[in-house]
Symmetry: C2
Subunit: 203 residues, 2 copies
Amino acid sequence: MPRNGAPTRERILDAAERLVIDNGYAATSVDRVIAESRTSKGSFFHHFASKDDLARALVERYAAADITHLYAAIAQVVADTDDPAERVIEFVRVFEEGADDLMSAQSSCLYVSVLTERELVDRGTSSQITAAIVAWREAIADLLRAALPPDSDLDAEALADHVFVTFEGAFILCRATGDPGHMRRQLGALRRLFEVLLVQGAA
Amino acid sequence: MPRNGAPTRERILDAAERLVIDNGYAATSVDRVIAESRTSKGSFFHHFASKDDLARALVERYAAADITHLYAAIAQVVADTDDPAERVIEFVRVFEEGADDLMSAQSSCLYVSVLTERELVDRGTSSQITAAIVAWREAIADLLRAALPPDSDLDAEALADHVFVTFEGAFILCRATGDPGHMRRQLGALRRLFEVLLVQGAA
């Protein structure tokens, strides 16, 4: 057992995730992952057949955690209030309030690093990202449809995707400016827009 | 002169921009840029001292074009209408209507590729991205402040940044799903949110 007690595979994934989020996939060598996870080449290739196999395992783990966060937030807002508009606003607020913790835990989003390399995407690494995007879209669109008037001409799926878009765009803004506070401010701006739409506005 | 008539430096930048946007910076070798731009190693290193020098030239050209698009749109909406709310909405509509053309010209955004590699950012490649972000923020925040009530509690700079965030997040969504139509739909969703905020809503 390694000194920190984490099983080797998880320790490799932890180091690789941090490196790939920081510098991208192509710029992250297997040698560096091995060095930072304090393992050996033999141990690495015991757990992962190739670097692309590592990429798939990273995306699988990250997307599963992403979907867990989604359903935890949905369960929380459904338990907290029966008001459909409040549920949408509260949903965004959950992530707004967690934004500073998120940005101290990671410097950007693994999806950005993986998607930046189209040849990696073409080798089949993105299907679980797409599945996560669809899960967020469907869950949020359900919340939005319940909160919008039946005759609304708004595209609930595009508005639902706008939550994912706000996360990913804010990760880029944080990285560009070096200011992780933009995540909280951007989720706050989205919450205010949803408040105007669903509470103050005429939707 | 090359057969297509473009000066060599521009031809190298065109090929490099396409490759870096498609696959990221680390995954783009100088050899591949040379091959795709039909030039030679000698010619490449006559124009660029190093790969990082190429990255800086790419960002410089891309950010300059980005700022040109910004001020062209501002000039257009200021000429088109005196109504402050209409100016904001029309500004987003200009880009919404150009979204399909944008997405047929490029598969994502150069900023995403460059920012994904933090070690590249740390070597000084991102200052012109930051300058472009600030130019967009200030110009759009001016439009927003004129359109919001004086007692509005909304953060005009965060809302202005939300335009950049929508672009960057939508690039990620398009890449993940393989559907470039998301750019138009996301800019459309943002326009509708601004319409509710500035025209229908109580701001």
